[in-house]
């Protein structure tokens, strides 16, 4: 985080050229997806095939999309369908129920609610309006995210798995920590890590997979639902999130949507992980420090 200025030197022109190339490359790949979606507003689209079209790792594709476009794929589709409905309201005479159905809504009421949220007017009022309002846009973002690239050794960890909402991962920690702690494996320097296999913008809460991990510095034979594994080493983009865990998604979006496309780097096809630098039992939520580690592919 305090780097950046170093390691530039003579290669800076080359690096910035590479960076603008990848930025354009990421934009071109996202554009392919946007065009594809625009032409298929009435079809069901699945994430793996969209990731293929954009040549992104399916692991991280949705976060890149969300970060660069400013809305999730579902939100993007919903907005395009509503904008199409708005244009048909103005230009045609189709009844509102018909347009609601075309926009993917089962009832007039749910369509009206969504339409009003986007345009600030009901479909009927929109049709009557002389100068219809423009849809609300995502708000601009604050200062750029600070990201440091770190080369990390492989890390041996003991873990417990959690399936369910991120807000409930505490239960996995409550199983893991007593089992390790009573064996003398925890202390002030322990590293607490969360491996996040799913993007909460994509996976329903009940299916989210998470592993609560503690790095081990001595041999340990696990029992019960505790497992051992190695988190691969290599280069990682590390972003610091300051604040409550429930707002981690915002920092993820900025890491994937702002930093990654400009970085000249590609994400590796393995999950990212979080390192918790302080203790949620003794710190206020606003003071919690979490590092997000995004594994990177080696430079070509």
């Amino acid at each position: 985080m305090r780097k950046g200025g170093q390691a530039r030197g003579t290669s800076s022109r080359h690096t910035s050229h590479v960076r603008s190339t990848t930025r354009r490359d990421y934009q071109a790949r996202i554009l392919r997806v946007l065009t594809y979606l625009q032409e298929r507003l009435d079809e069901d689209v699945d994430l793996p095939s969209l990731a293929r079209i954009a040549c992104f790792s399916p692991f991280h594709f949705h976060r890149v999309f969300r970060g660069m476009v400013g809305e999730s794929i579902q939100e993007h589709l919903r907005r395009l369908r509503l904008e199409r409905a708005a244009s048909r309201l103005k230009r045609g005479t189709s009844p509102v129920t018909r347009l609601a159905f075309d926009a993917g809504y089962r009832t007039h009421e749910s369509f009206t609610r969504a339409f009003k949220a986007l345009f600030g007017l009901s479909p009927a009022a929109y049709r009557r309006a002389k100068r219809p309002p423009v849809p609300r846009r995502p708000t601009p973002r604050p200062r750029p995210l600070e990201v440091e690239i770190r080369r990390l050794p492989p890390l041996r960890v003991a873990f417990t798995r959690h399936v369910g909402s991120y807000s409930k991962v505490g239960a996995a920690w409550d199983r893991l920590l007593p089992c390790l702690g009573k064996e003398g494996l925890l202390g002030g320097g322990s590293r607490f890590i969360g491996v996040c296999f799913d993007d909460p913008d994509v996976t329903p809460p009940a299916r989210i997979r998470y592993e609560a991990c503690v790095a081990l510095d001595v041999p340990f034979s696990p029992a019960g639902d505790i497992g051992l594994r190695t988190i691969p080493g290599g280069e990682h983009a590390v972003a610091l999130h300051v604040g409550p865990y429930r707002r981690l998604g915002e920092t993820y979006r900025r890491l994937f949507g702002e930093w990654l496309p400009r970085s000249g780097r590609e994400a590796r096809d393995i999950p990212s992980f979080e390192v918790y630098l302080n203790d949620p039992n003794s710190e206020a939520p606003k003071d919690l420090l979490t590092e997000i580690h995004l594994p990177l592919k080696g430079r070509a």
Binding site: D174, G181, G184, G188, G189, V218, L277, D279, N281, S282
Partner: protein
């Protein structure tokens, strides 16, 4: 079972204030040497190892849970003027607030586990003890530890304005983690018994 926490003990004003403390229980370890030196780091590790092992063994056994408190320390020297004494002669007691219901047998068991794991032998010096500091002057110090002298001078003047004098051992509570926070932003509660 509600978890026991010590959060209320970590509130202090940037202005000196008087407070009266009852008997408080701690897990502690004594030592000598400069802050940040080898003995100091070794003993912090040993103290936290004991604290986590005791707490998690209780939790595993379904006993009353509690939050591990912040690191605290008392500082003193054999010479009358602490600040003029060479750092390698500084004496300290590192402490972590621990509920009084934690028994000596639990500490002993934790020490055995940690020694068997090959952890620092310093853990053998960890103790459960109580402090009764009584009337104290207390103040929040923000900034590097090296600048505590200024804050202590304010506390001393305040005590004197109340007709009191600093007595006993200087005590501090580390609210910030020096590995994560820049020296200018370090928050430390300074406490000193008065009489």
């Amino acid at each position: 079972m509600k978890k026991i926490e010590f959060k209320d003990e970590y509130k202090a004003s940037k202005k000196p204030a008087l407070l009266k403390l009852g008997t408080l229980s701690y897990l502690s370890i004594d030592g000598q040497g400069e802050p940040g030196g080898e003995a100091f780091s070794d003993r912090i590790g040993a103290l936290y190892g004991a604290a986590y092992t005791i707490k998690m063994t209780r939790k595993f056994g379904g006993l009353q849970d509690y939050a591990i408190g912040k690191l605290e320390a008392q500082w003193w020297a054999e010479t009358p003027n602490f600040a003029d004494s060479p750092k390698e002669r500084w004496r300290w007691k590192l402490m972590i607030r621990t509920p009084a219901f934690v028994k000596k047998a639990e500490l002993k068991k934790a020490v055995d586990v940690l020694l068997k794991r090959g952890r620092s032998a310093a853990v053998k010096d960890a103790r459960l003890e109580t402090l009764r500091e009584g009337r104290c002057v207390q103040m929040l110090h923000v900034g590097p530890y090296e600048r505590e002298r200024d804050t202590i001078a304010i506390m001393k003047a305040f005590a004197e304005s109340q007709g009191l004098a600093l007595s006993g051992r200087h005590h501090e509570i580390y609210l910030s983690d020096p590995r994560r926070v820049t020296p200018e932003k370090l928050k430390t509660i300074l406490r000193h018994p008065v009489a």
